[in-house]
């Protein structure tokens, strides 16, 4: 017997959310800290020798976004598995 269609879709969505979150997080910097809206490029003033940073606007997701996204994905996957394991209702008819 094939699995019910909604259950398979929920599992597929959950898996996609997990994979997409991990891939996006890795591609955008694999930041193990908090999400950042800019990054800092270290610079040094030639005359004074002062170290400073130049801000560049860039979205860098951190684990504060990754963990909830993976969590949401796992919730979908487990929900799908629970739906799958539910026994289909049988209608007993008496004649």
């Amino acid at each position: 017997m094939s699995a019910p269609r909604p259950a398979r879709a929920v599992i597929a969505i959950g898996t996609a959310v997990i994979l997409l979150s991990v891939v996006l997080w890795a591609v955008l910097g694999a930041n193990m800290g908090w999400t950042k809206s800019y990054i800092e490029i270290p610079k040094q003033d030639e005359v004074t020798g002062i170290d400073y940073t130049e801000k560049v606007n860039r979205f860098v997701p951190g684990v504060d976004l990754l963990v909830p996204a993976i969590g949401a994905g796992f919730v979908c996957v487990f929900a799908g598995i629970i739906i799958l394991k539910r026994k289909p209702k049988t209608h007993i008819t008496t004649s």
Binding site: G33, W34, S37, D45, V47, I50, Y52, V63
Partner: protein
């Protein structure tokens, strides 16, 4: 001949006294290089922020480093952290309340333990640090570098001197009315503050 000799001596004394005069160094840096870094320990990663809205004047005599006075002002709204949610909290009423307290200041009271080697020196500066409307006496160790005639090298059209000041010191946020005794599991009470500033004294 004697008159010429007296005139030469007088000129030398006059020049020396002119050189020894204190100079006003303006710390509003048009290049935007002057910066303050602040750091708080936190469980996931330390919270590092910067500020570059710096102004103020220091009057200093490079030949007498103990004779230094002035005030450095930081625009509290120029403080930034990379995380947008933290940025909002930082400027909010619970933390710095920058709408009510737009300035963070350090006013020099006196200088002790001065050590000078040519155009570089170190000292301990006693001053009044004001944050979120609370003023406290603090002592900060500073290193100072005097760069005579280097102002024009930074791209401006004026001749003059530069004074580079660096310091790192720590404060307790609770002492300045910033969530005293609260959120210690999330953010440390100790804030490390690092200043790197260059002041300009144009001539003429």
């Amino acid at each position: 001949m004697k008159t010429q000799h007296i005139a030469l001596v007088a000129l030398t004394i006059a020049t020396a006294s002119l050189q020894a005069q204190p100079m006003n160094f303006d710390f509003k840096d048009p290049k935007g290089v002057n910066n303050i870094v602040f750091k708080l320990d936190a469980p996931l990663e330390s919270i590092n922020g910067t500020a570059n809205g710096i102004s103020g004047t220091i009057t200093a005599d490079p030949k007498a480093p103990e004779k230094i006075s002035g005030k450095i002002i930081v625009d509290a709204k120029s403080l930034t952290v990379p995380n947008p949610v933290m940025q909002e909290h930082l400027h909010g009423a619970d933390w710095l309340d920058t709408s009510k307290h737009p300035e963070i200041t350090f006013e020099i009271k006196n200088v002790v333990n001065t050590k000078q080697d040519a155009n570089q020196g170190t000292a301990d500066i006693n001053g009044v640090f004001t944050l979120k409307g609370v003023s406290k006496d603090v002592t900060v160790p500073v290193s100072v570098t005097y760069l005579p005639g280097r102002l024009k090298d930074r791209g401006g059209d004026k001749e003059g001197d530069l004074l580079v000041v660096r310091t790192t010191f720590k404060i307790n946020r609770g002492e300045f009315g910033i969530k005293e005794g609260e959120s210690l599991d999330k953010v440390s009470d100790v804030i490390e503050i690092q200043l790197s500033l260059a002041g300009a004294a144009p001539k003429g």
